[in-house]
């Protein structure tokens, strides 16, 4: 990975993604040890700027940082009354003045991580910006596919659900297609982005026809709020057309896997009993998430791959 930040999967390219996934193997092994810790980022400080509540992602990053022996500082601005009303710029400048090596940022507005890079020198990691990108999610998803199926290249992957509003979908499309997978988006037209002419994907509204052909079914969360915007008539109709029901799971090939970024709406996009099948690898995604985030943190804060190579003593 070149450059100082991880803002977008689209910027990484196949080589950048491969570098991270390869390094993740090392951190999977570290995470499996009885003492899951290495001193690699000792002395570094990682700050969390989460403007959107997200325990899962934040704890995953926090675990990753601590396993690398970095210190962590938490600014849960979503729940802190002190910082409400303060501009993002003022908040991050204050945090960085305290001496921070990396800011991990989540915000409901697209583009905030990019804006922050203009104001501070610290490394910025995008943990989700509005409907735009969620790079580490895509990386852990790609790693999980590689782990389950051997490779992402050549795989047929269906991404099902509210693609229009999903940063996970956007990052996944970028990552999976960069690695050579064939991606099909499955959703009603109201839940697809308005213009897909230059996206390297197929599009379908017939989930039953797509399922037998794919190696991976990636389900997106269906949020109840979408109903009030007339995007779908009802959750029931959504599940009937696009939910991974027990009946639909039987359409899948034997070794096809089911993935979900979590948290799952059991009974909506995924039937409760389907979520517990062995082919639903959601817990693997979560486990891999820590190792992937360790790889990202190490590459950005420790590996010094941008430093000029000098004499390397033994």
């Amino acid at each position: 990975m070149s450059g100082q930040h991880l803002l977008s999967v689209a910027d990484l390219g196949a080589d950048g993604i491969d570098e991270i996934l390869q390094l993740t193997d090392t951190f999977v092994e570290v995470s499996a040890r009885p003492i899951a810790r290495v001193p690699a980022l000792r002395g570094k400080t990682v700050a969390f700027c989460f403007y959107e509540d997200s325990t899962r992602t934040r704890v995953s990053f926090e675990t990753a940082a601590k396993r690398l022996s970095a210190d962590t500082v938490n600014f849960s601005i979503a729940t802190s009354s002190v910082n409400k009303g303060e501009s993002v710029r003022d908040t991050v400048e204050t945090i960085c003045a305290m001496g921070v090596d990396a800011l991990i940022v989540r915000h409901r507005s697209a583009g905030v991580p990019w804006q922050i890079t203009r104001w501070v020198d610290a490394t910025v990691i995008n943990a989700g910006d509005g409907g735009h990108e969620h790079p580490t999610q895509a990386l852990l998803d790609a790693y999980t596919i590689r782990q389950e199926l051997g490779s992402v290249e050549g795989r047929k992957i269906a991404i099902v659900g509210d693609v229009a509003h999903s940063r996970v979908a956007r990052s996944n499309v970028a990552a999976f297609t960069a690695l050579g997978a064939e991606v099909t988006l499955v959703a009603p037209p109201t839940l697809l982005p308005p213009r897909l002419d230059d996206w390297p994907v197929e599009v379908s509204s017939d989930l039953d026809a797509v399922l037998p052909k794919v190696d991976v079914v990636y389900l997106l969360r269906m949020q109840k709020e979408r109903m009030t915007e007339s995007l779908i008539p009802s959750l029931r109709e959504y599940t009937a057309g696009y939910g991974l029901t027990r009946r639909r799971v039987d359409l899948l090939a034997d070794d096809a896997v089911v993935m979900h970024p979590g948290p799952m709406n059991r009974g909506v996009e995924i039937a409760a009993e389907v979520a517990d099948l062995p082919r639903a690898v959601v817990t693997n995604q979560v486990r891999n998430g820590v190792a992937v985030r360790m790889a990202v943190l190490y590459l950005l804060l420790g590996s010094g791959v941008d430093l000029k190579p000098e004499v390397v003593g033994a």
């Binding site: 501009s87 915000h107 583009g111 990019w114 509003h165 982005p193 308005p194």
Partner: protein
């Protein structure tokens, strides 16, 4: 001949009648002579330059009263003067809105000390709430000639019809100007709905949000016979509708903002809220269509939609930041550089045509002949300059043209005979 205060020497005079090499002599705020070899106590060098009627902006947000930290009537007028404007129609989405006699008078009073003529537009509805018409007759008696809820369009179809009908019965000839945006279609959007919004995951405002209101108002204009003016037209569909309506004889005029002539939605990829504006920056095919419509006369005027915002406001997250960009100091240069029309046509769309729409032709827009008020601008059409955001008379810095190389610049501006800008520097 009375004592000549000022002579603009060595330029080529251009107005609606044509162009000729001539000097212009000014005394007591009035043009007293146009000809060769004029001398006076004070001289403005116009060698190699075009001397045209002062520009008229149909659409500027001067922010006063209510948001003086972004701009005031004075600072806005200074920026206008640097851009060659001698008259500006000030938009009524202030706080309080310009919807009553007292606020109209307040802005007129502020305008008295300004570096250009400041003509407040009045809101079409009280508080711009879209429910009740403002006292149009009373406000027109005070001199208001343009009514608009700009910032928003009038959503209620029946109310818009009644506004148009009522306007046709007023003693004064007023124009109803519309910010065409159907809120139900635009709601939640922060940029143009298209390939870029799909990529960036930012909800979009479809072209239809503008076009549906354009179509509605054209039909209502035909129904009522009212004089209607469309503000900041931005889409291919809109200019197509206007072109067809004009061909069929509908009494309609339309303006375009400089940014819609040159910037596209691709700019939003930087996530810099400087590029957030309403109507949003559209895709290339819209920019091409709008440019062509300006060139072929479908669009009558370039109006800046100068919309200053504080740095703090424009550093907010993209979807929270207020829309708008600066324009007064760049409009002419953008038209000359990016659209490439001859200077006569540039002056037509920036000076006498908007003057006519705003009913300001008595004082602005030329012709440049003896007896007319001395509202003039001197333009160096070959001046090459790079836009430096710090070099601006505006209080704000939300400038989308930073670093852009432009050709053509206003050198001097004369307002009521007073040289308010000399060699691009405001004189007060």
């Amino acid at each position: 001949m009375p004592d000549v205060d000022l002579v603009i020497r060595g330029g080529t005079v251009v107005d609606a009648a044509g162009s000729r090499r001539a000097d212009v002599a000014v005394a007591d705020g009035v043009i007293v002579a146009v000809g060769e070899g004029l001398r006076g106590d004070r001289e403005l060098d116009a060698g190699g330059c075009i001397v045209g009627p002062g520009l008229v902006d149909l659409h500027a947000h001067l922010r006063e009263p209510g948001k003086e930290e972004a701009e005031t009537v004075e600072t806005g007028s200074r920026a206008a003067a640097r851009g060659g404007f001698t008259a500006v129609v000030a938009m009524p989405n202030t706080t309080p809105a310009i919807d009553s006699a007292s606020v109209v008078r307040e802005v007129q009073t502020l305008g008295r000390e300004a570096l250009c003529a400041v003509h407040p537009a009045a809101a079409l509805t009280v508080g711009r709430a879209g429910e009740q018409l403002t006292p149009m007759a009373e406000l027109a008696d005070l001199g208001v000639r343009l009514f608009t809820d700009d910032g928003n369009g009038v959503q209620d179809d029946r109310l818009m019809r009644r506004a148009m009908e009522y306007a046709t019965g007023l003693a004064h000839d007023v124009v109803l100007a519309q910010h065409c945006e159907i809120e139900a279609l635009a709601e939640g959007g922060h940029m143009h709905e298209g390939a870029w919004s799909s990529r960036l995951g930012i909800p979009g405002i479809p072209a239809a949000a503008e076009e549906v209101m354009v179509a509605r108002d054209l039909a209502l204009a035909r129904l009522t016979g009212a004089r209607v003016h469309f503000q900041h037209m931005s889409t291919a569909g809109s200019v197509d509708l206007i072109g067809k309506a004009k061909a069929a004889g509908t009494r309609v005029t339309a303006e375009v903002a400089p940014h819609h002539l040159t910037l596209t939605d691709a700019e939003v990829a930087s996530f810099d809220p400087v590029f957030k504006v309403n109507p949003p920056l559209r895709e290339q095919s819209d920019v091409d269509a709008v440019r062509a419509a300006l060139v072929d006369g479908t669009l009558d005027a370039v109006a800046t939609d100068h919309a200053p915002h504080t740095q703090e406001d424009k550093e907010k997250p993209f979807d929270s930041a207020p829309p708008g960009m600066l324009g007064l100091e760049y409009a002419l240069a953008i038209v000359l550089t990016e659209v490439g029309v001859p200077i006569e046509q540039a002056l037509a769309v920036l000076s006498w045509q908007p003057a006519a729409i705003a009913r300001l032709s008595d004082e602005h827009g030329g012709p440049i002949v003896e007896g007319r008020p001395a509202n003039l601008c001197v333009i160096d059409p070959t001046a090459e300059w790079t836009v430096d955001p710090a070099d601006s008379a505006s209080r704000s810095r939300n400038n989308p043209y930073a670093g852009r190389k432009l050709t053509g610049r206003v050198r001097h501006t004369v307002y009521r005979g007073e040289p308010v800008v000399i060699d691009t520097e405001a004189q007060r």
